[in-house]
Amino acid sequence: MHLDIKKDFPILSKFHYLDSAATSLKPVSVVQAVREYYMEYPANVHRGVYKLSERATDEYEKSREATAELFNSKPDEVVFTRNTTECINQLANVFAGTLLNKGDVVLITEMEHHSNLLPWLMLKQKIGIKVGYVKLDGPTLDYSDFESKIHSLKPKVVSFVHASNVLGTINDAKKILDMCSDLGITTVMDCAQSAPHMRIDFRKLGVDYVAFSAHKMLGPTGVGILIGKSHLLESLPPFFGGGSMVSKADLQSFIPAEIPQKFEAGTPNIAGVIGFGAAVRYIKQIGYEQMHRTETNLLEHTLKRHDEVSDFVELHSNTDLKNSLGIFTFSVKGVHPHDVAAILDESNVCVRGGHHCAQPLHNLLGADHTVRASYYFYNSKSDVDALFSALQNVKKVFSL
């Protein structure tokens, strides 16, 4: 099926949208799916036996099946939450007192987004776990440090970012998971940045849990996805108590529902999940291979164009085309990232300025904050050229 990308993302005719690592644009088909739910069958799910409710339940569950198929998992292993952050927080919360107790170690990396740092630091405060960090070796992880810490710190949980939202680096998940296998370590992957751009084969990787967000991969905001091995999900306590998550309740006790309903208390984001189903279908039509080709070409073009401005633009992100997302993180010497972003905005170039919710990583980079341009398959070389043209305006305004 031929897809007319520019027609599917009409906003691209007005803006050079280079902030997809923050949130992606949504194709027309996703917006239509959300609209259709609200206009044609706006009923609750898993409740009524009337036609509207049954259609809502059917469409909601079809999204779960489509997600499971894309990630090679079983539908009952797919749990819908609000976002990646909620997925990891809820895992940390239910691990406390069950899998993790005082003194136990959770090993993460120095590359983490706050979503895979703060939940563990909160657990450190709450029950006294220890948090260990795998060092960086330039823009990549130091895998020998990883291996050494797995043996010396004996972590109960290894939780790592699959791809960095700042550096663009794609970590070698297989290598890390192989290191953890047979040691009884619970593994968690923060796939917020990777899932939109590359195929993640849950079954083949052998990871215990992956977490990602719908809104970064063409879907609506307010939907997170946690995929967990079914026998592990069955062993966890529910995240929340309330409607939908229970099979039997009396005034003294309750029996939780089966997975995945056990983790989806209350009315979920029905429209969002249905919209995400449309997003998954769109991704399948495009194909990860085509996405990767386009994004790699854009990064390659960016690095060439960077050579022209390297006297005032300092590059921070990974330049290894084989192991990087389409992310270009940089600083303009002597100019605050907000000022850079605001001047680029005058040319309708949308980039992010700040620490991108990764302050410890910025400390390691020696930068308080940076500017980030992040690409998706719908971007083109003209967007990259607009970025570099607008950077010349920054040079002019600040007399660099």
């Binding site: 605050h336 605001a342 305004v397």
Partner: protein, 126 residues
Amino acid sequence: MNYEEFIDRYKSLKHRGKIEGALHTFKSNFSCGDSIDVYVKVRGSKIVDAKFDGKGCVLSFVSADILCDYLMGKELDDLCELDFNRMVELIGFMPSVGRKGCVEIILNAVKSLCKGGAREDRRTQD
């Protein structure tokens, strides 16, 4: 915001610096990682000097410079009356929602001086 208008002032800020022994406070903007130190020298009850330093963008530094200008000769207790609308009047335009924090950081720092939160040289952080 017109950068060309602000940039000249940014390049020659009048109040950037530190005042030893003055009232001092510190605020940060978590969303962008910026921070600002404010020093206010008071004689009797009147402000006779004001300076700021820290990490910030053009808008936050120029807003700080303009506010320091405004503070000269004011009573310390007048600081409690400052609000965002007054800041908008002083800088001459309404910042967009994404840049509101760049203006608020200096406003919040200065206002904290009249609340008794940092009336000596010690650090407080949001």
